[in-house]
Amino acid sequence: MSEVGLECKLARNYTLENVPNALAYLLIKVIPDSSINFGALPINLGLVIDVSRSMRGKKIECARDAAKLVVNSLRADDYVSITTFSDEAMVIVPSTKAIEKDAIVSSLDKIHIISGTRMYHGMEAGAREMHKVRIGSTINRMILLTDGMTEGEDRCCAIAGQEAENKVAISAFGIGDKYNEELLIEIADKTLGTFYHLRAPEQIIEQFQKEVGLASASVISDVTLSLNLVKDVELEEMYRIFPSSVKLQPRVEADGKIISVEVGNLRKDEQTCFGAQLRLPARPASRVRIAQVFVSYNIPSLQIEDRVVKSDVIVEYTSARDLCGKVDREVVAYFNQLNAHKLIEQAIKETKLGNVSAATQILSQAQLITQRIGNVALTKSIEQATQELKEKGAISSEAVKTVRAGSGQTVRVEKTDLV
């Protein structure tokens, strides 16, 4: 019995015989065994905080309070470093074990506002601190907070790329409506982190704590998802769908058959869902194993290394159209969340081009999907964006950031909701 269960389901188990290029939607669920005590892993936390002039006042106060609360919630074997950035980066707390919390907390009072925003300095210095103490079995999470546009966006993305290699996930927090959410989304996606949009400074406190809580639950580490596709089956796209959506960039292994992607650390208290969109070749009526899915992982807290679970994905080619018509609504519901995300991006693009009616129509489609799935928060923010669009012919920067952040946060589909 493995610690992690693997469930692979297709949207349709049957496909019409002899039809080429049929699309198949594959849902891969990685489910931790809830009866197992997974223990805990030390966190290697890097706080990287914007201290440019626009952060003055409530924002920086809340950021300081949030950092203090986070430090206080860490365990003695966790590591923490605190870096601020404006024109330059300043390491306020070099990477250290979270033992002398009072000293760490008091150094937070040294945070001062300075003009300029060069986020890459902060990211580089923050990452350097994290690398100093990183040991093989820590959860590496950088929390990056900014409220403005930065110079050197390309450099920020390059650093995110490097940190993805170093297995540091960056959770990017944007506050207000002046920052570039596209940059923060890219940074988060590249490192398999999460993007958050904060409307008010008070949210920093709550969201930082939540993020550290989620990070500390991510004890299943170095998870790699591999697909062994049989001849003529092609992978078109691959995503992490739940708990948040990210487009994955799988690589083809040397033998050309196996496609793998590293998906970072997974939580012990929640299932993680992945989605693969496949193209199937034409085949006569028969039972075909189109793919084998392998998930390999470590659980350092249980001294488990390189454990692999696998599952077959089987399709029945048939002439019976009634069988082909049957869909698994759980799979469809998960993929529909990706679709809602794509629709929102498309609507934002249309709005920028001035196609208000097209954008409104696309948003209403997205809203219908999120409503059906029961994503209340996202439905509400789409509603607000649509309202703005109808009244003013445009969506405010604030609303764009809210729907974008919301569309990345998917919801769990309960089977009971579907019956």
Partner: protein
């Protein structure tokens, strides 16, 4: 172990081929998966039908069969009438289909529940027979016979005839016009099904056939009563309305409207509607006009309330769009007149006008094509021909800006304007001795969108070129034409005949004139133009030297109307240019549709 599918050598323990994925277990034949034990091939059913093969086996077995004396084959569906002893078999079959709701055979009213479960998958055979019989039309799959043998019911259906849409579109993309024609017919089919109180729920290319351009709809197994609910979620990827995946939604006609929109989009673009729904950009890119994209998007709205309410409403929209597209003509037009090689003055007059007018009610395009060949010596000929052109063009232009309630019909406008021109020329001739013998031929084409109205007096001509064939749209009012019509001379002799210039009808010679319209050649008031048509109007200075076939060839090989006019005049002059030559060429531009 060698894979029977790809010949890959696989280790013994493998259940599936590691290379191609084929199962090494013997695939179960439809007979084995059938809920009912299937009839073997060769069985004679109901003393009439010869079972040839089982096509699929599940809750309902489907056979291909033939009957003596019948040319076409049949499809026979076989289902068990629910009896207690059949219960277990059916329960198993339902389980294989993965029925979502827990179902216990020991519950009360078991038989009804089983019947409900079957109805969740299929329209019961008797109900299907009754529905197809009531529809009783060549638009739908024919139901031949329903009968019961013991505990088993049978429905004999027509096998698919005609060409399947999947095959048609896989060979070549349909033109937008042809795709809309099919969608309009699908709307008519859907409308009839809805009026019968059902929704088809399975309108997808595989279930549509074309027989001599006529749409036929098959496979009614997923049909349900209007306003019904289905607990099983059977959908066709890319064609089924999203509400079919929802338990709470009541299914009505709008689900079929979604499917028709998806089929129309597929016929034009070969693209299915993805799970995320249609995007306006994607649809816009695949059609020729935003108006059609809007219609398709209205069909494909996620929310049924945003779709067309009835198939009739969708049909109306498509028909109106199609009509507007047919009317939307763009002509490349040119007009040229030449003295010829002999004459000292040019008595011909010609004029071309192309006008577009956009109003709230839509865009209209008009074309006016006039050639006149004056006669009467001295300068009188050109006075008559110019006057005819002036009077008629003024009348037509005036009519275009007249309030709609006082508008003359195009047919009347053509006749009235020619009569007006005749009486003005006649009065001028009476008042002035120098002009007393003047007169003119006149050939007039007035185009309103795709409709051409003709007015004609004399021996100038109008031609239509369509699909590589040239057709004269006017009869010459000349002596020679009479001889030719009587078979006394050949066309070649007519062109050389000494009396070839003599006409018996012209404008200006009498107070009243008999005017030919399109009725004289086509039995109708107007000619319906098609995309790709060309029109040629000319005076006899051209036709005296250039045959109809040569006109056709010159027009077809020319790059544009202007070049065609130049080529024709050059050819007439090369052969003598005995008279003034006037030519109008109007070529309909081919629009990608």
């Amino acid at each position: 172990m060698k894979c029977p599918h790809c010949s890959f050598e696989a280790p013994e323990k493998e259940q599936f081929c590691p290379n191609c994925g084929a199962s090494f277990l013997v695939t179960e034949s439809p007979q084995k998966t059938a809920a009912l034990s299937a009839l073997p091939s060769g069985t004679i059913l109901n003393s009439k039908y010869h079972i040839e093969a089982i096509l699929t086996g599940n809750l309902v077995n489907v056979y291909r069969a033939s009957a003596q004396g019948e040319q076409n084959s049949f499809v026979i569906e076989e289902a068990s009438i629910v009896r207690k002893k059949k219960l277990n078999i059916i329960t198993r079959a339902i389980e294989t289909l993965g029925h979502i709701k827990p179902w216990r055979p020991d519950a009360k009213k078991t038989e009804e529940k089983v019947a409900e479960a079957i109805a969740d998958h299929f329209l019961p055979l008797r109900e299907k027979f009754e529905l197809l019989s009531s529809l009783n039309s060549s638009d739908f799959q024919r139901a031949h016979e329903y009968f019961v043998i013991g505990n088993t019911e049978y429905l004999v259906l027509e096998n698919q005839t005609g060409k399947n849409m999947l095959d048609i579109v896989s060979e070549d993309l349909l033109s937008e016009d042809a795709a809309i024609d099919i969608a309009i017919q699908l709307c008519q089919c859907a409308d009839r099904i809805h009026r019968a109180g059902y929704v088809h729920l399975n309108i997808e290319p595989g279930n549509i056939c074309l027989l001599d351009g006529h749409v036929r709809l098959f496979n009614f197994e997923r049909a349900i009563k209007l306003g019904g609910r289905r607990h099983e979620h059977l959908t066709a990827e890319g064609y089924s309305a999203p509400e079919l995946l929802s338990d709470n939604a009541v299914i009505d006609a709008r689900a079929d409207i979604y499917s028709i929109g998806a089929v129309l989009h597929w016929m034009i673009s070969r693209q299915n509607i993805p799970l995320a729904g249609a995007s306006i950009l994607r649809v816009l890119r695949s059609v020729s006009a935003p108006a059609l994209a809007r219609i398709i998007m209205s069909c494909l709205a996620h929310d049924p309330d945003q779709r067309f309410k009835t198939a009739g409403e969708l049909r109306e929209k498509l028909a109106t769009y199609q009509l507007m597209q047919k009317r939307n003509f763009h002509f490349d037009t040119a007009c040229l007149t030449d003295l010829g090689m002999i004459r000292q003055n040019n008595e011909d007059a010609c004029l071309v006008l192309e006008i577009s007018r956009s109003t709230d009610s839509g865009k209209n395009s008009y074309g006016l094509y006039l050639v006149a060949d004056g006669m009467g010596g001295e300068q009188a000929g050109e006075v008559a021909s110019s006057k005819a052109v002036e009077v008629i063009s003024s009348a037509v232009l005036e009519n275009l800006i007249t309030p709609p309630d006082k508008l003359q019909s195009p047919f009347e406008l053509v006749r009235n304007s020619i009569e007006k021109a005749n009486s003005e020329i006649y009065n001028m001739a009476r008042k002035s001795p120098q002009l007393s013998t003047m007169g003119t031929t006149l050939t007039l084409g007035f185009r309103v969108n795709n409709e051409l109205y003709l007015g004609h007096v004399g021996d100038s001509r109008a031609y239509l070129i369509r699909d590589g064939i040239i057709k004269q749209l006017t009869h010459d009012h000349s002596v020679v034409a009479g001889l030719l019509k009587a078979g006394l001379i050949t066309p070649e002799e007519a062109r050389q005949h000494p009396d070839r210039g003599k006409i018996f009808r012209c404008l200006g010679s009498s107070p009243n004139v008999a005017i030919d319209t399109y009725r004289e050649v086509g039995d109708e008031e107007k000619l319906d133009l098609q995309h790709g048509d060309s029109l040629v109007f000319c005076t006899d200075g051209l036709t005296a030297h250039v045959s109809d076939e040569e006109i056709l060839a010159e027009v077809e090989k020319s790059n544009g109307a202007c070049e065609a006019c130049q080529r024709l005049i050059w050819l007439a002059n090369e052969r003598g240019g005995t008279d003034n030559i006037s030519v109008i060429v109007a070529k309909s531009k081919n629009i990608k549709r």
